[in-house]
Amino acid sequence: MTPLAKLLEAALFASARPIATEELAALDPDASPAALAAAIDEIREHYDVEGHGVELQEIAGGWQILTRAEYTEAIERAQLAARPQRLSAAALETLAIIAYRQPTSRAEIEEIRGVAIGGVLKSLHERGLIDVVGRGEGLGRPLMYGTTPVFLEHFGLRHLEELPRADELAIALRAPVTASAAAPHE
């Protein structure tokens, strides 16, 4: 491997979270973007072609070294690492709505889900999956929520655009209403 690829590999190994391309660039200010991309490709191919227990994945706008899926059970059985807990159906529904309609308000989420969402927003916020991104224009200036990079990490998404566009889904959601129009909740 080239020296640059080795440097990036060391940094990726040391980090518990995906490292953004810009952060990788900071490791060697002299490296051109092209050289950086080549080095990343080199690491990925190194793992894939030569056959390693780990792989390089592109997640949340960055890169992360992850174990291969086929070893997950053995690692978990030996209690060396534990998978994060699955999210509840209520949490997933809330996240799906926020991901598509962000910034969105609690009232809008409740209207689409047809239930009061109770502590779900709080626990999603505690897990770092969503954040308050501002206030709406409507009555009482409701808090508006959006997803965070941790959301992308949790679902292994490179970016939000990786989710199918609304018009690619089997049934189209109505166009997002403006916050002021959404406020007078039926």
Binding site: A69, R113, G114, E153, A170
Partner: protein
């Protein structure tokens, strides 16, 4: 700000209902429509409404307001459908709003399925030591014995002359004075140690003033405080130029 905002979300526990099968009335309704294999655009409201009510009774969900509200809505639509239609051109299907919500809900469920698949795929890979998001840790673990702690206190107290234990005279802590002093020193020198700043202090309140002054200036961003390890001497330097400090802050945040 956000924590207090979220605090209001906490539900009163008496109203949280365990719904093992359905995540809401729309979910139950969609399940019934699927089970009965009826057209979502032409829902036989009377039949579905009856089944809906039966289902929430068997599930003992009758405390869940949302399910009751949906049951009421279905019955109202059923009643509206029984009324003579009147003029055909102005007639609106009373089911339209319900159908719209069901379709919207179903689409959201489609996204949920996708997120579930992607989440499951991500869960089957481990990163290096899974770390839940948490505040930045201390520079070094604070492993100190009582003796070390006391000797540290002693060192600070020895920096000033023995305080007079009997004389309880309230003294105003002079933070502005200390700030002025520190600013003057930093104009002359690029790096100062805390021990030097408090070297002339005669009394604990003077040390305290210097300390508060330093913290205030650090908060204002006029200087940087560095301590290589706990209880080491504190190094004071003027704040870096704005662009450099911004970069530092960015890398720390990352």
């Amino acid at each position: 700000m956000s924590t207090s905002a979220f605090g209001a979300d906490t539900p009163s526990s008496s109203f949280s209902v365990e719904l093992p099968q359905y995540s809401g009335p729309l979910d139950l309704l969609l399940t019934l429509i699927r089970e009965e294999q009826v057209d979502i655009y032409d829902i036989p409201i009377a039949r579905i409404a009856q089944q809906f009510v039966e289902r929430i009774r068997t599930l003992e969900l009758n405390e869940a307001a949302e399910y009751l509200e949906m049951a009421a809505r279905l019955l109202r639509i059923k009643a509206q459908l029984l009324l003579p239609a009147g003029e055909q051109e102005l007639w609106e299907d009373p089911r339209a709003e319900l159908v719209r919500r069901l379709l919207e809900y179903q689409q959201m469920r489609e996204v949920v399925d996708l997120l579930e698949r992607r989440g499951e795929e991500r869960r089957s890979h481990f990163g290096r030591a899974y770390l839940p998001a948490q505040p930045a840790p201390l520079q070094a673990p604070l492993a100190l014995s009582l003796v070390e702690l006391l000797s540290a206190v002693d060192r600070v107290l020895r920096a000033v002359s023995r305080p007079d234990m009997h004389d309880v005279v309230p003294r105003a802590i002079d933070v502005p004075g200390a700030i002025e002093l520190i600013r003057t020193v930093l104009m002359l020198r690029a790096r100062v140690l805390l021990s030097e700043i408090i070297a002339d202090a005669r009394e604990p309140w003077q040390v305290l003033s210097a300390l508060l002054g330093l913290l205030e200036l650090a908060k204002l961003g006029e200087l940087r405080l560095a301590q290589p390890r706990p209880f080491a001497n504190v190094e004071i330097s003027p704040a870096a130029p704005p662009d450099a400090s911004a970069r530092d802050a960015a890398s720390e945040a990352a």
